[in-house]
């Protein structure tokens, strides 16, 4: 596969918050364009830390990490911000801006990308229709249930048609309906738009998604060679 098809490339990467034992040790893996990746592992294994490194929140202590051929080791703030414009992120705790309406929250990546208000509004309406929340667009996050907030976060992650979506336990706190909406949207973006998806989760959902599976154990990234479908080879 050519270099431009590689979205994530990690070589002997170690991650740690303080100068002690690294949380992630010598991780080497590649994620290609259009790949759907699940990263699983027990609590405290470093799944979220690994995901944070992929959007530049944590920088590698050693080794190399590149996203769309942009090295993250010594990235400047302006390059990091440019890179993040092509990434959509979904968090377990939603991370919606509480003082903004649902509409403005979903609009955020589009405003950052510099789209006109009219284009933004049209795109937001489309996305909120997809997540069945158009009727709630004038509300504030606090007025929505957890499942609804996560659907808003999902719409926000998809708004700017990103190259890659990173999701940290996206259905961790959700009801069945909202979970299904999230997986359906992620699968749709992956299959129809060839968006690279990386999901950190405790358990792989029983949902028909063709994916690559990495596991984390004691800070070591394992797997990634095999393609799975619906939990089986």
């Amino acid at each position: 596969m050519s270099e431009d098809q590689i979205v994530i490339s990690a070589k002997n990467m170690s991650l740690s918050y303080i100068e002690t034992e690294p949380i992630i040790k010598n991780a080497t893996f590649q994620v290609h364009k259009g790949e759907f990746v699940f990263i699983t592992g027990p609590s405290g294994s470093g799944k979220s830390t690994l995901l944070k490194s992929l959007y530049g929140e944590i920088k590698p202590k050693s080794g190399e990490l590149s996203i769309t051929n942009t090295p993250l080791n010594n990235i400047t703030e302006s390059i990091l911000m440019t890179l993040r414009k092509h990434i959509g992120i979904v968090f377990q705790d939603y991370k919606l801006i509480k003082e903004w309406t649902i509409e403005k929250n979903v609009m955020l990546p589009l405003l950052i990308a510099g789209y006109s208000r009219r284009v933004c509004e049209a795109q937001v309406d489309k996305l909120l229709t997809h997540v069945d929340l158009l009727h709630r667009k004038g509300r504030y996050p606090i007025e929505l249930s957890g499942g609804e907030q996560q659907r808003v976060a999902m719409a926000r992650a998809l708004a700017h048609n990103p190259t890659m979506i990173l999701a940290d336990e996206p259905t961790g706190n959700l009801d069945k309906y909202s979970s299904e909406v999230i997986w359906h949207l992620l699968k749709g973006a992956n299959e129809q738009l060839k968006t690279t998806i990386v999901v950190v989760t405790h358990d792989i959902p029983a949902y028909n998604i063709k994916h690559t599976h990495y596991t984390l154990h004691n800070g070591t990234v394992m797997g990634g060679d095999d393609r799975f479908y619906n939990g089986r080879k």
């Binding site: 890179l83 414009k85 992120i89 003082e99």
Partner: protein, 270 residues
Amino acid sequence: MIREHLSLIIALFTILFTLQVYFIIERTIDIYEQTLKDNYSMVVVASGELKTDLIKNQIKIVEKFESVDPQKVIERLKDELNKDDLGVLKDNLPTFYRVFLSIYPTPDDLKLLKMQLEKVEGIVRVETYSKTHDQIFKLLVLFKDISNVFLMAIFLVSALLVIKEMRIWQFEHVERMHIMALFGAPLWMRSAVLFKVAVIDAFISSVIVVVTFIILDLNGWLHELFSMISIDVDIFEFFEDTLNLLSISIVISLLLAIVTILRNKDRYQS
């Protein structure tokens, strides 16, 4: 939405309100000092006509000499003395001057001035009424000291409010700025929201304080209080006070915004 603005508006309102009260106190003290200065004069007794312009050039704080008409003294003694004695008195009566000053002098100023005047040829006596002056001067100093203590208290309260507000902003705005940064918002865009909030809150709090003091000014209640001490002070000078309050309010808000932005910026430095 309201909660986002409310904490800063309340903090700014408190700071601006106390500052405006301080401005009024300062103005009152200035008027009081001016009244004391206008009412205060010393008496100089001279053996003859003085070259007052020359003295005024030599002693800068002397504003004007006013000759006291001797006829007034003679009129008062007219019933007690006979005509001959009055004639003798009139011939030997010295020249009296009331001396007005350009400032309300301190006791030290007064001592120095007395010494300087006594050295002037022709002046035989200088009466400064220093005992009364000292009492009034001490009262003025007391007012000024109280005003300075009040100013220090304002600084202290303002500093505490600003520090508290910085903590609130760290909590409230850093989270939003962080979420914006997660989606690639450049620093100017993350900061723009903050500056917008800062300027809006500064404007709103200034307007509230301005309206409050205009109402107090129009109400007349405060004027009545001041008239009891024979002082007519401007409770609110529209252009000057509005400009002062708005400037202070904007400076504090922008300071808050800049500190919050700088703290947030460190997060992304490699």
